[in-house]
Symmetry: C2
Subunit: 99 residues, 2 copies
DNA sequence: TCACCTTTATCGGTTATACGATATCGGTAA
DNA sequence: TTACCGATATCGTATAACCGATAAAGGTGA
């Protein structure tokens, strides 16, 4: 299951070009806790060095063509791995109502 | 994003009590590659030691009550983190058709 | 009995993910 | 100019997730 953070970051940048701090904020929204700079900047550096991200003069990241392909692969394997995601959601919502 | 493998294993066992080899097979189906024993048995051991799993005389694992609660928590944070999962699926299927 | 096979389990080592501390860099206000 | 501040980046360290090799345990068939 390694590579999920990279996958999520690729997905976020795919939706909208973002800077490091914007990505940090978005992850905080989703996960409930703010990732430390020591988490996200090394990932961004790695993705950039692998040619999946490019960065403009305002430090705003965007996907390269290989980055888009990588994201597609991740999406496919994600939905293979969580092939019963609707069932998961049902159970989650069901237990939500019990509170 | 750490803890996703444990989460997935809890989910599988929640659906159906399973042995280690059955879990290995299921993960192979989903992920496309067979996890090595050095991956899954340490996880099962850890989950058992944390009181989330119990094991019967046939080496078949099942969720304990704390295990069910842990799974619920994981499900909630999973759908928070991937709050735009329908959008992800749309994009994935869209690129699927292009082939 | 004993040879074999599958399953279960452990071991050492690698990489991704994560933190907090610290450093650098650029812009802005004093 | 200088002081500060948020954003960016690096560092050391820890843990989860992985692998392949190996070992032990249990069952089955010769």
């Amino acid at each position: 299951m390694k590579g999920f953070l990279s996958f999520l970051i690729l997905w976020l940048i795919n939706k909208k070009n973002m800077t490091g701090s914007e990505i940090t904020e978005e992850l905080e929204q989703r996960k409930g806790s703010r990732p430390s700079p020591g988490t996200i900047y090394p990932v961004l550096k790695d993705l950039k060095e692998r040619g999946l991200l490019s960065i403009d003069e305002n430090k705003r990241y965007s996907l390269t063509t290989p980055g888009e392909k990588e994201l597609d692969q991740h999406l496919k394997s994600f939905f293979n791995t969580f092939c019963d995601i609707d069932e998961m959601r049902t159970q989650c919502q069901c237990h939500e109502e019990q509170k």
